[in-house]
Amino acid sequence: MTGVVQTVLFWGLGAVAVAAGVVVFRTDSMARATYALAASFVAVGAQVLFLHLDYVGVIVVLMMVMEMAVMAVYMVMFMGMNPALMPMSMVHSRKTSLGVAAGAFIVLAGGALLVPWPARRGAPAVDLTVSLGQATMGSKMLVMLVVSPVLFSTIVSALVLALPRSRYDRLGDDLRRRPAEDPQPGGVGR
């Protein structure tokens, strides 16, 4: 792929990512907002592939497509009404938010364009995915050792938050109540 084609494709994907991000907060339909966010993530994933991060790019695309499918279900579950059928404003502090967002863009983009970025140091490995695997299983193993319990504790705490009734509700504070207090009594041995 020539440099010009690559540049045009990269900017095109960037435009798609940003435009889809804007659509997320402009459309009335929750389903459309979710799919727009998925499109934004897929475009960014493709851009990451352009930067030769094959593993990370594919992970971003696969993870985000699945996440948006889950998010669409949550939207349908929790939204009390359908904004696509009954359009209404669901925002607050609109002007302040626009001002803060515009200010953040000016500062960040200005910094990106004005900072004298240093020259590249080092050369990429021949096979980047292999080098990533070797790093996570070798010199950077501590990072993965920290991330793993964080993800595990996330699973536990999310379940504790989301469960309507815990074992303490069923068995009392000392876990000794027998039979267990269930909304629907029954089960083996009760």
Binding site: F25, Q47, L51, T96, L108, T154
Partner: protein, 100 residues
């Protein structure tokens, strides 16, 4: 394709996400804004990695950012669930107890 181009696109994505995170009333929409911001961080980090120091260190850092995004999503959904169960709503304006 230059580092500046990557960072400008990431800045635009971050700004759009910031607008959503501040302005939206529905909790899941706030999460969408936060995810757009993390999406921008992933793109910027990938650009900085490729154009400045393409060593495995930055590559591993990107995996940490993706893990942070996963944690944000899981805890956000859990909070949305418990908020909907206790208040019958998923609006941020109805969960301002600590403010009072």
């Amino acid at each position: 394709m230059t580092l500046q181009a990557v960072l400008v696109i990431a800045a635009a994505l971050f700004a759009v996400g910031l607008y959503g995170a501040i302005s939206q009333q529905v909790l899941v929409m706030v999460m969408m804004g936060l995810e757009l911001m993390i999406n921008a961080v992933i793109l910027a980090a990938a650009g900085l990695w490729w154009f400045l120091a393409p060593t495995p260190d930055g590559h591993v850092l990107l995996l940490v950012v993706i893990a942070a995004m996963t944690v944000e999503m899981a805890m956000g959904f859990a909070v949305a669930t418990v908020l909907h169960r206790s208040r019958g709503s998923d609006m941020t304006d109805m969960s301002t107890d600590l403010k009072q």
